[in-house]
C-alpha cells in the first residue's frame, strides 16, 4: 500500500456551482499534506467529502488501495479518519470528558474515559482537565478537546481545517510539535490553510486548489512563499499598502480607562482599556477571538452603555452614556463582525437595510416618522455602485448575497456617510480575496481623507497590511498601541498570550532594535 487515501476525479456540484472539479490527489501514510487555497477554493468541500459529511457528485475515493464510499462521519471514523473542524463541534455546557464521550463508540464509562483522556492529552502535549466545563475554556483549549477526541480513536488520517486561525503564534507552535509527532508515528495529516509560512514550515507536500480545481502539487521545500501565493491566487496579490506611517493628527476617538463588566458567564470583562485614534490613521486591535473584541465593539458602538461618559470621547465630546444613534449623529460609524443578523437584517432588502443604521443620521430617509423608500433605495443604489456589490436582482434580500458582497454593502453603507470615526470589527472575516482588497482599500482611503479608523481583527496579515499602529487585546485588557513598523508577529503573539509586562521592557527593546 503506497497511498493511504486517493481521490480520483472527484467532482462536487451544488446547484450550478462546481465546488470541486475533477480533483485527483494522493496522501501517503505519515505525511503532512497541505490543502492550500483561498476562501471558496473548495478545500472545505473536499475534506467534508473525505470525512463523509458530503457525498461526491462523481469520482471516487480509495482508502488503502480499495475503492470506498464514505456515507457518514461515523463511517469515516470507523475507517480511521478523524477531523478537527474550524468551527468546533463542542458543547459549552458539558464537561471535557462528556464532549469526548459523545464522539466515542462503544460502552459508556466516564471513569475509564477520563483516565484515557488524561493519558493521551499528556502524551501528546495537549493538557486537558476531563471535568472542566467547556464554557470556561479558551479557544486553544477547546481545539485540544477536538484533537484529543480524534486521537482517542487512533486515527490513520487526521484532517485539520485552518487550525491556527484561532491560536496565538505560540499555541500554534505547540500544535506543530504535536502534529509532527503524530506524523512520525505514521498518522497522515491533511492540513488546510491559506497561511503560506506555516505550510512551508510544517508540511511535506502541498496541493493547491483554485476555483475548485487542483492547480498544482508541489514540494514546499522547493517553493518560496511568493511562488506559493502566486499559485494560490493565480496572479500577483494586490497588497493595499506596505508600510505604515507616523500620523500626527488630532485625536478623534479616545477610549479612556474604559471598563465594562462581563455580561454573562460566556462574556469577557473589559479592564482599563485606553487608546487614542487620530485623524488620518488606522489603528488595529489584534487578538485571539474571545478576548473581549465583541465586548469592546459593543462598548464603543454604544450598544452597551458605559459607567462614565468620559470613558469614550468622540471628537472631544464625552459620549459614554450616549446610545448608538447619538454617536452616529456625532459622526461615528460602526461595522459589526456578524453581517447577517447584526449588521443587516437577513430577510430585509438592501434598501430596507440602509434604514437600519442611517435612520437617525440621514434626514432624507425618515421624514416625520415615516420611512422614505425612495430615499433608501437611492442610498442603496449608490452604495451598490460605489463598492461593486454584485447581486442577482435590483434590490435583493440581504441573505441572498454572498458573504463578500454583503460585507461590501455593510461597510459601504457606513463609508458612504463619510464618517469622521469608523470602527470595524473583523472587516474581511470569511470574505474572498477580491472583496477583501476592495474593503481594505476603502478603509485606508477613508483614513487618508482625515477620518480616524479603528479596526478589530484576528487576521495578522490584514493588520500588517492596513494598520499604522497596532494594539493587542488579551483577556479584556488592551496593550499599548505600537507603530506597526516596530512589531513582528512574534511580539504580537507574546502580547496575545497576555504578556503585558512586555509593555515596559521587551517591547521597548524591540522598538529600539527596530529603529537601530
Amino acid at each position: 500500500m503506497e497511498y493511504l487515501l486517493e481521490a480520483l476525479h472527484v467532482t462536487k456540484v451544488f446547484g450550478t456551482l462546481k465546488a470541486n472539479d475533477d480533483v485527483t490527489l494522493k496522501v501517503k501514510p505519515g505525511e503532512i499534506h497541505a490543502f492550500l487555497g483561498e476562501n471558496g477554493a473548495g478545500k472545505s468541500t473536499l475534506v467534508k467529502m473525505i470525512y463523509g459529511a458530503l457525498q461526491p457528485s462523481s469520482g471516487e475515493f480509495r482508502w488503502m488501495g480499495n475503492a470506498v464510499t464514505i456515507p457518514s462521519p461515523a463511517a469515516a471514523r470507523k475507517l480511521g479518519i478523524g477531523m478537527v473542524f474550524q468551527h468546533f463541534s463542542l458543547f459549552d455546557a458539558l464537561t471535557v470528558a462528556e464532549n469526548i464521550a459523545l464522539a466515542m463508540p462503544g460502552a459508556f464509562d466516564m471513569k475509564k474515559l477520563s483516565v484515557r483522556i488524561t493519558r493521551v492529552s499528556r502524551d501528546y502535549g495537549l493538557p486537558l482537565e476531563p471535568t472542566a466545563v467547556v464554557a470556561d475554556l479558551s479557544v486553544g483549549e477547546r481545539q485540544r478537546i477536538e484533537i484529543v477526541r480524534c486521537l482517542l480513536q487512533e486515527p490513520k488520517l487526521l484532517i485539520m481545517d485552518e487550525p491556527t486561525a484561532v491560536l496565538t503564534p505560540q499555541e500554534a507552535d505547540q500544535l506543530f510539535v504535536t502534529l509532527a509527532r503524530l506524523a512520525g508515528e505514521g498518522c497522515a495529516v491533511i492540513y488546510i490553510s491559506h497561511r503560506l509560512e506555516e505550510v512551508k514550515r510544517l508540511c511535506h507536500n502541498v496541493t493547491i486548489l483554485r476555483h475548485g480545481k487542483v492547480v498544482a502539487n508541489v514540494d514546499p521545500e522547493t517553493e518560496t512563499a511568493a511562488s506559493l501565493a502566486k499559485l494560490m491566487v493565480g496572479g500577483d496579490i494586490h497588497v493595499v499598502r506596505a508600510a505604515s506611517r507616523d500620523v500626527q493628527g488630532i485625536t478623534r476617538l479616545k477610549l479612556d480607562h474604559l471598563r465594562l463588566p462581563a455580561d454573562g458567564p460566556f462574556s469577557v470583562e473589559l479592564r482599563n482599556v485606553s487608546l487614542d485614534v487620530k485623524a488620518g490613521e488606522v489603528v488595529a486591535i489584534a487578538g485571539v477571538a474571545g478576548n473581549g473584541q465583541s465586548e469592546l465593539f459593543d462598548a464603543v458602538s454604544g450598544e452597551r452603555s458605559l459607567a462614565s461618559a468620559s470613558m469614550l470621547v468622540i471628537d472631544g465630546r464625552p459620549m459614554g452614556h450616549d446610545g448608538v444613534n447619538t454617536r452616529r449623529n456625532a459622526g461615528a460609524a460602526f461595522v459589526p463582525e456578524e453581517r447577517l443578523g447584526h449588521g443587516a437584517v437577513p430577510g430585509f432588502t438592501l434598501s430596507q437595510n440602509v434604514v437600519l443604521t442611517r435612520h437617525s443620521s440621514d434626514e432624507a430617509l425618515v421624514k416625520s416618522g415615516m420611512v422614505s423608500s425612495g430615499g433608501a433605495s437611492g442610498v442603496s443604489q449608490r452604495v451598490i455602485k460605489d463598492y461593486d456589490v454584485r447581486k442577482g436582482k435590483p434590490d435583493p434580500e440581504a441573505r441572498s448575497l454572498s458573504g463578500g458582497n454583503l460585507q461590501k454593502f455593510v461597510v459601504g453603507r457606513e463609508l458612504d456617510r463619510r464618517p469622521g470615526v469608523l470602527v470595524v470589527n473583523q472587516p474581511t472575516w470569511g470574505v474572498d480575496a477580491g472583496a477583501s482588497a476592495t474593503i481594505r482599500q476603502a478603509i485606508v482611503d477613508l483614513a487618508r481623507q482625515g477620518s480616524a479608523v479603528l479596526v478589530i481583527s484576528q487576521d495578522l496579515d490584514e493588520i500588517f497590511e492596513i494598520a499604522d499602529r497596532i494594539a493587542v487585546i488579551s483577556r479584556g485588557e488592551l496593550s499599548e498601541a505600537y507603530p506597526a513598523s516596530e512589531l513582528t508577529s512574534e511580539k504580537i503573539g507574546l502580547l496575545m498570550a497576555g504578556a503585558h509586562e512586555l509593555r515596559g521592557t521587551e517591547a521597548k527593546e524591540t522598538a529600539h532594535a527596530a529603529r537601530a
Binding site: Y51, A53, L356
Partner: protein, 368 residues
C-alpha cells in the same frame, strides 16, 4: 421516502399570499372528512357551516358583531408577535377593560351624557393597558417570561370579575344573579344602519368602526413608519435592532400597551353592546381566538381583518350547524385549532421548499 425542507434563497412572495388560502382549503377538506366520518353529507354540512352564515342580513350583522373584537384584538396581537413580544393574555386584558369601563354605570348609574360613552370607552382602554402593563413590567424588570405571566393573569382577572359580580357590584335587584345593573342610553354603543331596509337592513355598532380604524392605523404604522420598521427589525433580528439603536424595553412596553389597550377596548365594547351589563362569560374566548386571527392574517393588520371574518364565520357556522345538523357547537373550536395548525405548517413553505428524498444514507452531517 423522507420529507425534508430546503431553504429558499429568498422568501417566496407567492407562498406568502397562498399559504393562508392553502391552510383554509386544507381545513375545509379535513372538516369534510370529519363530517363524513360522522355520517353526514360533507358538502351540505360544510355549506351549513361556512356559507349559510353569509346568506341573511341578520347573520351578516352577527358576523360583523363577532368579527369586530376579533379584528381589533387580532391586529394588536399581530403587531406584538411581529415584534417577538408574546402577549397571549388578551382575554384577560379584554376582561380588565370591561371591568374598569363598567365602573362608571355601576357607581354612577344616573350619569348620562355623551361624556359617559367617552369615559367608559377610555376606561376600557386604560383597563386593558393596565393589565397588560404587568407582564410588560415583569419582562423588562426581571426578564420574566411574558407568555406565562400574561396567561396566568387571565385566570386572575376572571376571578376578580367573578368576585365583583357576585359581591360588591352585584345588581341588588337582580334576584341574586351574578350580574351588574343593565346599562342604558349613553352606557351602550350607538348603532348605525349601513345598508338600507330595501336591500336588507344591516346595522353596525361603534365597535365595528373602531375595529376598522385600528386595523387601518396599524397597517399604516407597520408599512410606512419608522416605528413599524423598528418593530419588524426587533422581531426578525433582535441583535440588528440593538445595533440600530432601538430599545427592546420600549418595544415590550409599546406592544403590550397597544395590544392590551385594544383588547380592553374590545372588552368594553362587548359589554356596551352585545352583553349590556357586566357578568361572567362576557367573551366566548375572543382573546384566544384572536391569536389564531393574528397568525391567519400573517401577522399583518389588514390580514387580521380578513382573518377575523373567517373566524367569525366559524363561530356562526358552529351555531347554525348545531341547529341544523345536531352537531356540537364545539366543533367550531376544533376547526379553529386545525386551521391554526395548517397555517403554521404552510407558513414554513414561505422560507422553505418541500422536498421528498428517497431513503438514502444520511448525506448531510456537518455544517456547510
Amino acid at each position: 421516502m423522507r420529507l425534508v425542507l430546503e431553504k429558499r434563497a429568498e422568501a417566496s412572495g407567492r407562498m406568502a399570499i397562498l399559504s393562508p388560502v392553502i391552510a383554509i382549503v386544507l381545513t375545509l377538506v379535513t372538516g369534510g372528512i370529519i363530517f363524513a366520518l360522522r355520517g353526514l353529507n360533507p358538502f351540505s354540512a360544510l355549506y351549513v357551516f361556512f356559507v349559510e352564515p353569509l346568506t341573511t342580513s341578520w347573520s351578516i350583522e352577527q358576523l360583523i358583531v363577532k368579527a369586530s373584537p376579533l379584528a381589533m384584538i387580532g391586529a394588536g396581537l399581530a403587531v406584538s408577535y411581529m415584534a417577538n413580544v408574546w402577549n397571549i393574555g388578551a382575554e384577560g386584558q379584554l376582561t380588565a377593560g370591561a371591568i374598569l369601563g363598567s365602573a362608571i354605570p355601576v357607581f354612577f348609574p344616573e350619569f348620562q351624557s355623551p361624556l359617559t360613552l367617552v369615559l367608559m370607552l377610555s376606561l376600557g382602554v386604560i383597563g386593558g393597558m393596565a393589565w397588560a402593563a404587568i407582564p410588560a413590567f415583569l419582562k423588562n424588570r426581571f426578564g420574566t417570561n411574558e407568555i406565562l405571566t400574561s396567561l396566568m393573569l387571565v385566570y386572575v382577572i376572571q376571578f376578580v370579575l367573578d368576585w365583583l359580580v357576585r359581591g360588591p357590584w352585584r345588581d341588588p335587584k337582580g334576584y341574586n344573579f351574578p350580574k351588574t345593573i343593565a346599562f342604558s342610553d349613553w352606557q351602550v354603543l350607538p348603532q348605525f344602519q349601513i345598508i338600507p331596509d330595501s336591500i336588507g337592513p344591516v346595522s353596525i355598532n361603534l365597535g365595528a368602526i373602531f375595529a376598522v380604524i385600528a386595523v387601518v392605523a396599524l397597517a399604516f404604522m407597520m408599512g410606512r413608519t419608522l416605528k413599524g420598521y423598528e418593530l419588524r427589525v426587533q422581531g426578525i433580528a433582535p441583535r440588528a435592532g440593538r445595533f440600530a439603536g432601538f430599545s427592546r424595553e420600549r418595544t415590550v412596553w409599546f406592544c403590550f400597551l397597544l395590544s392590551g389597550g385594544l383588547a380592553g377596548l374590545a372588552g368594553i365594547c362587548e359589554v356596551m353592546s352585545t352583553v349590556g351589563q357586566l357578568q361572567p362569560g362576557i367573551s366566548p374566548g375572543y382573546g384566544f381566538t384572536a391569536i389564531i386571527v393574528a397568525f391567519l392574517g400573517r401577522l399583518n393588520p389588514i390580514g387580521a381583518l380578513v382573518a377575523a371574518f373567517a373566524l367569525a364565520i366559524s363561530y356562526l357556522g358552529g351555531e347554525s350547524a348545531q341547529v341544523a345538523l345536531g352537531i356540537s357547537d364545539k366543533t367550531a373550536r376544533v376547526f379553529q385549532g386545525i386551521l391554526l395548525f395548517y397555517i403554521l405548517a404552510c407558513d414554513s413553505l414561505i422560507l422553505y421548499r418541500l422536498k421528498f428524498l428517497r431513503a438514502t444514507p444520511k448525506l448531510a452531517e456537518a455544517k456547510a
